[in-house]
């Protein structure tokens, strides 16, 4: 029984996640606590039993909130697949820290177990406990870098004595994201510059808001402790150094991985760092410039009550002729009670996805400057669904390789390691749809 849970994990186990709170991590499944760690011991174990009923109640009332309170106890929760990760506290905890930490747990567990789900937790409960202990102590998050954790929290019993007998110095080092002694035969860095376009277009065709969220991802395969410097065509940097040739980009806001020396960037815009090994997101940026929507959609949706819906969608590629958008998907909403779909497309395939109330029009390859058409026809029942339906927007997905909308460029990547090896950086650019929504009139 869960009451038993109370006695099994009484107050003095350790853990919570917030600076000044007394929290515990619970991973809750369908109301049954799957695993729990009491980091501090001043929130009653039984409190978690109130969580699911309260959540259900709030959902019913349509008032879901990421914070639920019960008396003096506050539940801060996130949902991951079919699991709820719930932190409990009775203090004025740092809420943003708690949510960041919960997402970090998901990240770490996912890297350990591939999938974070009920089974992976049950199958690995020993490691899960070990991780929970290492991730947080008395409510203070500790080491949360999964690559480093994997160096001393492993589940391979046999190798245990040798592998786990030392704390990697990395854990407490200033460079807490990279271990020493990494070796590669061939030293390479792969740099992906990915720009996502967010667009919100009004039903009358005016662009309400648009921005670019860029991300620079690294796959580092470098030996030793290399010092890297990344050069971008950053306008602020060019202005600082008095250089003025070529196209530059104004980054509205930049966010860096832990490894980047922030004060250095703040003072002279240099992006310098010792990279984590393997894959990581080095930085992300936001650009506020008005972007012309790369794929422009015009739609006419006519609804004839009790009879039919007629949809006409025109998609136009508003990018350079030399470029091609791949895997384009135009998702058009249809009423939930629509039936007997009929389609006509000038290119690509249209498919009705009734469980999502969508027509998905797929175009594998969409060259710049081209225009395509799709028509759809649906029947409507004579007795209509009188439940009000929202007005979901048309959404578009696409990818355009070898191209960034902002024009951002990697000018150089300098790699210096004391052993003096030569390393090659490889750069790849891609532009893709982010949150790309066009409202409709219907």
């Amino acid at each position: 029984s869960r009451q038993g849970g109370l006695s099994v994990l009484p107050k003095d186990t350790a853990a919570e996640f917030s600076v000044r709170s007394r929290d515990r991590t619970y991973v809750v499944l369908a109301g049954q606590v799957l695993i729990c760690r009491n980091y501090k011991g001043d929130v009653d174990m039984a409190e978690i039993d109130h969580f699911m009923p309260l959540l259900m109640q709030h959902e019913e009332e349509g008032l879901v909130s990421p914070v639920i309170s019960h008396g003096s106890v506050h539940f801060l929760w996130i949902k991951h697949s079919n699991l709820y990760l719930v932190a409990t506290t009775n203090k004025n905890s740092n809420a943003s820290l708690v949510y960041s930490f919960l997402y970090k747990i998901v990240e770490v567990f996912t890297e350990y177990f591939k999938e974070l789900e009920e089974e992976s937790i049950q199958d690995n409960f020993v490691v899960v406990y070990e991780l929970l202990d290492e991730l947080m102590d008395f409510g203070f998050p500790q080491t949360t870098d999964s690559k480093i954790l994997q160096e001393y929290i492993t589940q391979e019993g046999a190798k245990l004595e040798v592998a786990k007998s030392k704390v990697p110095t990395t854990v407490t080092n200033a460079v807490s994201w990279r271990s020493e002694g990494i070796k590669y035969k061939k030293n390479e860095v792969f740099i992906d510059v990915i720009e996502s376009i967010n667009v919100l277009v009004n039903a009358n065709g005016s662009v309400m808001s648009s921005d670019i969220v860029g991300s620079i991802k690294l796959k580092t395969m470098l030996s030793g402790m290399p010092e890297l410097r990344l050069g971008l065509n950053d306008r602020v940097l060019f202005a600082l150094t008095g250089r003025d040739k070529g196209k530059t980009v104004v980054m509205e806001d930049v966010k860096f991985h832990q490894c980047v020396r922030l004060s250095r960037f703040e003072s002279d815009r240099t992006i310098s760092f010792i990279p984590p090994d393997g894959e990581s997101e080095l930085m992300s940026y936001r650009i506020n410039t008005h972007v012309k929507p790369l794929i422009w959609i015009e739609s006419v949706i006519e609804k004839f009550s009790h009879s039919r819906v007629e949809i006409m969608v025109k998609a136009k590629g508003q990018f350079k002729k030399q470029s091609v958008a791949n895997n384009v998907e135009v998702r058009v909403p249809v009423p939930s009670d629509a039936d007997s779909p009929k389609f006509k497309t000038s290119t690509g395939n249209a498919k009705y996805v009734p469980e999502k109330n969508l027509v998905v029009w797929t175009i594998k390859s969409f060259p710049g400057g081209k225009e395509f058409l799709m028509r759809a026809h649906f029947g409507l029942p004579s007795v209509e669904n009188d439940e009000a339906e929202g007005k979901p927007p048309i959404t578009v997905k696409f990818e355009i390789p070898y191209f960034t909308v902002s024009g951002i460029q990697v000018r150089y990547m300098k790699i210096i390691e004391k052993s003096g090896y030569q390393a090659l950086p490889w750069v790849r650019y891609i532009t893709q749809s982010g949150d790309y929504q066009l409202r409709t009139n219907v």
């Binding site: 099994v8 349509g62 008032l63 914070v67 919960l102 049950q122 407490t172 703040e266």
Partner: protein
Amino acid sequence: MLEPDPNYFSSFVCSGEIFELKAELNSDKKEKKKEAVKKVIASMTVGKDVSALFPDVVNCMQTDNLELKKLVYLYLMNYAKSQPDMAIMAVNTFVKDCEDPNPLIRALAVRTMGCIRVDKITEYLCEPLRKCLKDEDPYVRKTAAVCVAKLHDINAQLVEDQGFLDTLKDLISDSNPMVVANAVAALSEIAESHPNSNLMDLNPQTINKLLTALNECTEWGQIFILDCLANYTPRDDRESQSICERVTPRLSHANSAVVLSAVKVLMKFMEMLPKDLDYYGTLLKKLAPPLVTLLSAEPELQYVALRNINLIVQRRPEILKHEMKVFFVKYNDPIYVKLEKLDIMIRLASQANIAQVLAELKEYATEVDVDFVRKAVRAIGRCAIKVEQSAERCVSTLLDLIQTKVNYVVQEAIVVIKDIFRKYPNKYESVIATLCENLDSLDEPEARAAMIWIVGEYAERIDNADELLESFLEGFHDESTQVQLQLLTAIVKLFLKKPTETQELVQQVLSLATQDSDNPDLRDRGYIYWRLLSTDPVAAKEVVLAEKPLISEETDLIEPTLLEELICHIGTLASVYHKPPSAFVEGSRGVQHKRLPGSTGLGESLESPDTGSAAGGSDAPPAVIPSQGDLLGDLLNLDLTPPATTGPPPPPTSGMQLGAMDLLGGGLDSLMGAGFGAAPAASPASFSAPVSGGLDDLFDLGGGVGMPMGAYNPPKTVWLPAMKGKGLEISGTFARRAGIIQMEMTLINKAMSVMTDFAIQFNRNSFGIAPAGPLQVLTPLSPNQTIEVALPLNTVGPVMKMDPLNNLQGGSF
């Protein structure tokens, strides 16, 4: 990929199993032992009681197998408290493990030790802890630092006696950033539970160390340090600027929590910077982009960010004034994000962006989520009130929405249109006809009351106003109080405007209100009208049809002192709830409320026009209209502001069965002073009822209402001399500010020690006077310090005849 454990969870039965496990735990084979401990932990995880195995499990503790050791420790942490005597058995192993050559084992031991909350054990742990705090390995030191906080939580005295706090303070200068971060975290935690301990005595040297560690420690460590920095008060603007300069780079950190903690430090220290400083402007500009970027984080983090942005735009509207678009709602935003974005949109609405905002709001009003739609409709009304130039467009948008005939949209629209009428009288009355068409569909009290208010207010322009109001009268007793009160007032207004046709109607409503109702508010209001009408119809007209004060532009602003406190709590639950920590954290009542540095209290120089207007110093408390829910109640009651001044109910026999003339009977004299004083335009002369001295005194304040603001308020007199108040001297007076009775007090601490935790309680009194809110004394009162407090009062408290009437006893606080 890891080898999954065999499924320990499914294979469990209950009784003989314990016995079996016992045997396995005592097995000679290492592997078998380990498997058995795993099984024990698995049962513990699913909630079975395996405490009976305590000695057997503890026996496995002495092992060089780290995994097994961890499991045993886990078990110990869970059961030690229920088996304190047996837990002693573990002490030796802990002590031994703290000396193990392997730092992982030393750290594990010190970490676990602190989690065993058994008094008997703790004292044995001091020596090992002392060693670990000086361990050569930083991993052990950072774990030991946290252990001090754990131990302090169990036995604070012990920690102090053993000098661990000093060792912990020394660790702030440790060479390892993670140790510094954990020491800061542990000290902050301890300091929080002992607010007066002066533990975190932050000085420029320590601050410098912290700022250096900030560049090197993990993201979490950065948060501990930033949160700790936020408690520091720089000596001057130069120090403030230099700290800000070293904190701003954190705004580029990928972790949203680091960003918000940095924002907290900057928002706080910014208070000390002169506004004409170039750097001040630079800093303002630097804050916007990271705040906007937070909106691309996970929805829960967005929510926290939005709740905080809501505070930030109230304190410093200039930061985000150009960022309206990023708050536009996306179809797939979770509802809690949508509602918060909407709130911020209204706060940022200005003449420059109103067209776009309105277009968006109209779009939202046609969505399906009822709460969201309602809020969007209200938002349109708030825009109309906030941005005068947009009022006409807002009204026409609302009319379009009324045409949709969606029931809740119509009702919400009517409620906000009433507010618009209040803000712009005699401007949009042409829409009344359209509103009247929807009379029948209104089933929510708030909408009904709003509609009735409109009909009453504009009765002279509505031909069939009497019919409309009469139709509501049929089910009078089934209506909610707010509708009844409103109906009563509306019909009286109608009568005063069209006396000839409506005499019967007014008689009817007065008798419904006074004779058939159990509601004292309603009865009181009924009597007042009745008596007014029968005594002096001219005065009645002046009172009831008086010009009403316009409603304030900015609605539901957070009260400035609270806002200041919440800014100091950016990122925390308090900032999410918009409540001070003392409102939801148990045992924090004595804890000092945080204040922004350099601020002198209410109405501190805010350059924002929005908030500035609301904070005009203590003479005129901010004209903040309460949150939407209360808005209507507040507005409707303005006919007789404030409702609370209706005074004691009539004596049981006099008014009930008597006609209008009899209401003048002496029993109701007391009502005069109280009730009438409240009416905004009342001419005091007509109400100079003979009232006894004490009452006079008090209601002079009330009588003064018809006069301009700043009418005579009696000077403060000493209520409680320090001799009787254990060193606290209280002098005070009553005043009426913006229509609200206030008790204004001067508190002087004439004792030698700091006073905190002020509260006030009123004895039952003749006027039913009671505090309308808690006594807000935010800072502790140091010796010889003087503080001015104003306590808003209402008159809905319990009534008890007192003699003399105004003998308010100052109690000891």
